[in-house]
Amino acid sequence: MTTFQHKRIRDYLFVVFLLGIPCFTTAQSVESKPRKSEIYFPQAPLPRTWRNSLGLVFTTTPPELTEEIRVSVPAIDLNFQRGLTKRLFFAGRFQTQFVQNNLSLGLRWARPITDRLAVSAGYDVSGWGGALKIKDVFSSQAYGLESMPNVSVGYHLKSDLRLTVKSEVILDHYYRSEVGTLAIVRDRSQVNGFALTVVLEQPLYNQRYVSAGFRAAYSNFNWQLWSLYDTFDRNLFYPQLIFAFIL
């Protein structure tokens, strides 16, 4: 089979996979209310129930790449998790900035250690893609595949406050960049960097819970800045502010 045919098959499989997602849809049990108070805290949602959050994540750009223009670029951040068994759950995350998106799908296994402390381990695979077509400036697109093995430790403080610390290793698996009719591909798996997330989850008003936190990522490449064509072989610091409403 030619590379082109491989590509087409991969694309179709991807679309079929996406269309299959609604098969996981729904089931809120009437007997036991699903938890709507955490997303990051290492505890599985009730089996066959969903747990979602919608918010924003702001990433500060490193000066090596954006130089004088130091901004915090926002992305819409959607988390969606579904309990599979008592301890195992599916964790998905979709971040979008419209011209570029990142979809992460993974599994996590969580268990309590004491009545306040809980841990989880997980593995997420994320695909990202972006396309820019601006007259006289860009005719480029890129996409790639990363994976993030992660471990979280959560502490449930008194008065409905949950603190979670999550550490991830970011691995790169595939990168393809196209400008006009030229394309380059890098498909060697390598360690891209690592990230540490600290999140507090608590009620904000009435019954509405929020996740508010900070993620410090040190990585060689960040998918949001693909269009800056980072050639620095250095881990750059990407601080991110996270704020989301748990739905």
């Binding site: 960049s177 006009g180 900070f214």
Partner: protein, 421 residues
Amino acid sequence: MKRYCYLVPILFVIAFGGCRKDYEAPLPYTFINSSGSGRFSPAVRQALEGVYVVSDGSTQFGSEVVLKWSYLLEGTDSTHYLSVFTGLDAAYFNLEGSAQTDSLVLNGYWRKLVNADIGLARLVVQAKHNGRLQAFSGNLPAGDTLVIKGLYGAGKNTPSLPLTLQYRRPLNKKPFNIMAHRSGGRTADLLPASENSVAIIKLASRLGATGVEMDVRYTKDGVPVLYHDNTLNLRLIEKSGLTGSLESYTYKQLSALVRLINGEQIPTLEEALEAVVYNTGLKFVWLDTKYVGPMDPIQAIQQKYLQKARQAGRDLNIVIGLPTTDALDSYKALKNKANTPILCELDTAITRNLNAGIWAPRWTLGPQTDEVLAMKAQGRTVYVWTLDEPTFIEEFINQNKFDGILSNYSPVVAFYHYTEQ
């Protein structure tokens, strides 16, 4: 439990704090910069230039490298430097001939531009005769090959790792303009000189550049200076506290209180062009119009230095770059456009209307083969900017359609150009 609670603000402070790592690449080698060529006579230098195969050291520097000489002039004195350009991690060597008279020894340093790896290097030039190495006299009989053997190291450590280069073939002679961005390179690439400084203009040839691009702005009192960003900021200048747009400050204020990140003064355009004409062998200068306002003073300086170059017998072209419609308007407002070579970054229609000699589109638009060939058919030169991705540099050079590339990584462009067959 209480212990964990105190952790929260501490974690926040650590997380929010200045967690950025400051990278540095201090030069481990101090150049002697002795004028004259010593044992490296013009014939020896000519013989040394070429494409070499790397046997020892290929994991660090790749399987092939390019050797090229460049020079600096001070009055009538000339100092010669040998550069080695590689295709791996944008690595290059900067070497000078040793004063030793018994053999051809080169001392200097190597650096990888993609990260901060740097180290010392010491190489000896020899000839391989009947499979055996012997001193190179300056004449290379048929059947003999030049072999450069030596050691390189990490940081300031004494070189201990072997490096062996064997001559394979001469450099690609096709004319091509290797233009260094920001007068030589970016400050973020941790070069020994700041971007848009006279010091980096003098370094540009050693990085493989045959031309430079400079960013021109006006101070409040109308003095044209080289400075890229809109504002005074810590990316480019040492922290004096002063901030705001460069155009708010007079030249007197800037020269007294502002220093570039490596300690240099912000140069005036005239100082920069003076260095290009009288101190270097650079063939091309691209004056990028970062200012908004009348172009007349820049045109006057351009013509003055074109004249000076002619008088000094220099093969030098100085063009004014038009990146935006504002710059276009400033150019159109010039009363007399004779002897004012320009470069247009806008689309082909505008380039044709202006009858610009050079069209320079962004590399992110792709190879644009049809447009490029159409421009060249009209006798125009086509450059592409600012291309740093090594794999894309190789692709664009292999396209064989462009007349030059503007890059922060001139060593990479030099490598792919000179090794092309």
